[in-house]
Symmetry: C2
Subunit: 253 residues, 2 copies
DNA sequence: AAGTGGTCTAGACCACTAT
DNA sequence: TAGTGGTCTAGACCACTTT
């Protein structure tokens, strides 16, 4: 009867199913999101008040609150105290690219080949980044990450050399690179700074990645700190531009 | 007495200030985060149970819940029903780069110069992307974004031509580009797909951006959909690799 | 004054995990 | 069985905005 379009049933029904395995607040958020998506509330427009939603859907104020909070977290609506809840317009600046695609590549058929590992005396920049003295020793490592036997990532980095902390040995292993992505890595690391750049590959980088020049690539610079807030490593992942893209979506659906 | 290190006072006190303007749940989350950051709970270790926190800090279960939820949202802890709450290890794969840096550039001293706008017959790829027929007309626009009078972004794109919807005129304006970033843009757009690539600039791109070849740059491809889920535009922002970097942090602090 | 979102309570009940 | 997180209630009180 109410099937306006003769297709599949609507994925979200406009009422709360008390026996569902989905929490009520998730159901309510889904209902509202679906209504916004269908155009019932346009960007800039006001949603029904929380009190109204409480009456409409017969749930407690706290549950409505949680549903609305979900939508604010998802960048779908904004709330203004004393005024109401409003639908947000799509915002390019809110787009976020995460490294899960990269993570997927690592969990694949990945093999790390250690190209070089040696002690080096820190130059001015390295010393500053690792917060050590110029001329102090650090460990310089170069590694190549092969995926399906093809060179995919070239990693160079400096590691703090501290005989009292056995972080160095483990850092050389494959597992650490993987662990960095999936969170099974060293519990000694407290935080990290990352920055990403698009740049021309150097001759060395192109040679080791087996691409011909000129070529563009990603440079992912990273620095990690321990729980004393002291740097433990600084380096770059380099990857040919053709080898991956970052993807994301904004808005609804 | 309890000043172990004779420095500044600790920024977060290990108790709840009922008169603070910060909500209790935020204060509690801060306390726990600070304790984790200080090494009181290491990655993998278990936090005190919620019941324990209720007793310790004299707050209601719901308030503890909100504090813990904050920390899970911030990727600091994970909860496992029936087992407990555990500190997360730093996870590279969870790193997310957002375009707020880019947004900042747009809100600066930005001027859009319309380079070209004309009707084109859609080729196979354009037709597919805009979900129109091959040979149907679309609008092709090229724009240059100047920041402090320097060419910064080169934007090319195809727009749906639909006389019934006056989206075209407004799309040509500066405000739309800005609005896309800050969310004041068209309320007609429901969602978008974005993808980012590192690539060599073409001769045309390099010329218009006034850089010499070879050069590497960012390609930000975007496609936007209206509330009928029909594509309204498809295009790319191109930018010289030196002109910006993406930054982010993972872990605590 | 009336209406809005924001916080917080003090419990109840449930689902899951360990022992 | 005891302990854990997860949901939900039915209100109270507050801060803010609009009329």
């Amino acid at each position: 009867m109410s099937e306006l379009k003769g297709g599949a049933a609507a994925p979200v029904r406009p009422y709360i199913d008390r026996d569902s395995d989905q929490p009520v607040y998730v159901q309510l958020a889904d209902i509202l999101r679906q209504q916004i998506s269908a155009g019932a509330f346009r960007p800039g427009e006001q949603l029904p008040s929380e009190a109204m939603l409480v009456r409409t859907y017969q749930v407690s104020p706290m549950t409505v609150r949680r549903a609305i909070n979900l939508l604010t977290d998802q960048n779908v609506v904004t709330t203004v105290q004393g005024r109401g809840t409003f639908v947000k317009a799509v915002q390019l600046g809110a787009a976020a690219f995460d490294l899960s695609d990269l993570q997927a590549m690592f969990s694949d058929d990945a093999v790390v080949k250690l190209v070089e590992a040696r002690f080096v005396a820190a130059d001015e920049r390295t010393a500053r980044k690792l917060q050590i003295e110029v001329g102090e020793y650090a460990i310089y490592i170069r590694r190549l990450l092969l995926i399906h036997n093809e060179p995919a990532f070239y990693h160079r980095g400096y590691l703090i050399y501290d005989p009292t902390r056995p972080i160095v040995e483990s850092e050389l292993e494959v597992t650490v690179l993987k662990g960095l992505f999936d969170g099974t890595g060293s519990p000694l690391i407290k935080r990290g700074e990352l920055s990403m750049e698009a740049a021309l590959l150097t001759e060395e980088e192109a040679a080791i990645l087996q691409v011909s020049l000129p070529a563009a690539g990603w440079l992912l610079e990273h620095r990690f700190f321990d729980f004393d807030d002291k740097p433990v490593s600084w380096g770059w992942f380099v990857c040919h531009g053709d080898r991956f893209r970052l993807h994301t979506k904004i808005g609804l659906e």
